[in-house]
Symmetry: C2
Subunit: 163 residues, 2 copies
DNA sequence: TCATTATAGTGGCATATACCACTAAATTTT
DNA sequence: AAAATTTAGTGGTATATGCCACTATAATGA
């Protein structure tokens, strides 16, 4: 770690950086496959969650995505602007807004979904089906509140100040 | 996958989305640990790469990070503005600019590095040391040019058009 | 019921990251 | 060597994402 270690894989030593690097690469790969639909992989993901969760509130969507609520609001804007999504105020609780696909949104999602399946199978084939499933498990584990709790509370040695 | 499957883990089925979700979570966790240094985890990562690679050109840095060159340029700006980094034109090839830590940059990096070690050990403890190493391997594999090549060329069934 | 507090969203600002068009400089062709 | 091509960076624009301050509304407590 002294800057002159020849074989030292500087890109690989940090879990967080490694994750981001892989995410950039994979995002690129998925984006390319989804490109014909005009959607980015992130946008397909957003539409999918809204689709699968049936008009979720922004809050629950943000929680599920482990994303900041305001960040979610921002990322939804282009999709709303393009008429794929709409926000509907909840009847019971007027603070709440529910996201839903428009007709165009559903069509676009279906179109993108076909491309996504191609990307998905490419990934599984390139990475290995089992490894792929294991990877998703690992990712879900990291994204779980439980993991965050363990990470934060970790009483391990390493300088964890108790204050 | 029809929207009403109760137990369906909608957040988990897509490798790309799963990766992003985990990346958001982990980024948050690392950011919190690094916060006292005033650096985000991404910025610590940038400084580290520059530190470990000894004044790399922006191009080689971008390649190593699997990042778009212009994106790299943009993310470096705040660090340059804050005096942690500087870009020095290469002598031999006047197209090239090399990034280097300033004195302040080195100090800041050292400060952040201590915090990073804490985050690193927390992650290892929470996720498991071996799983952690395996994860970094998996991430590095995905980030490798080889993987991208395989992904793109994949002749698997699923609609891969040969054109 | 009224004041306090908690919850859901919005808007502004900042960083992270990509694409495109453009410039400058080096490399390759002819 | 002049022209064509490739390479390295920059600046603009757009999406992705986080924090903070602020608003509206609901839930709680005195």
């Amino acid at each position: 770690m002294d800057g002159k270690t020849e074989g030292f894989e500087s890109w690989a030593y940090c879990s967080n950086s490694a994750l981001r690097r892989a995410t950039r690469q994979l995002g690129q790969l998925y984006d390319d496959v989804l490109a014909p639909s005009g959607l980015k992989a992130t946008q397909y993901g957003l539409l999918s969650q809204i689709h699968f969760n049936g008009n979720p509130s922004l809050k629950s969507l943000a929680d599920g995505l482990v994303m900041d609520l305001s960040a979610l609001g921002h990322t939804l804007k282009p999709l709303i602007r393009d008429g794929l999504l709409e926000l509907v105020p909840d009847e019971k609780d007027r603070r709440v807004k529910r996201a839903g696909l428009t007709e165009i949104g559903v069509e676009k999602w279906q179109e993108a979904h076909l491309l996504w399946r191609e990307a998905h199978s490419r990934f599984d084939n390139a990475f290995g089906e089992e490894e792929s499933a294991a990877l998703r498990n690992a990712m879900n584990r990291i994204a779980s509140p439980d993991f965050a709790k363990t990470f934060v509370a970790d009483p391990a040695k390493g300088g964890g100040s108790a204050s």
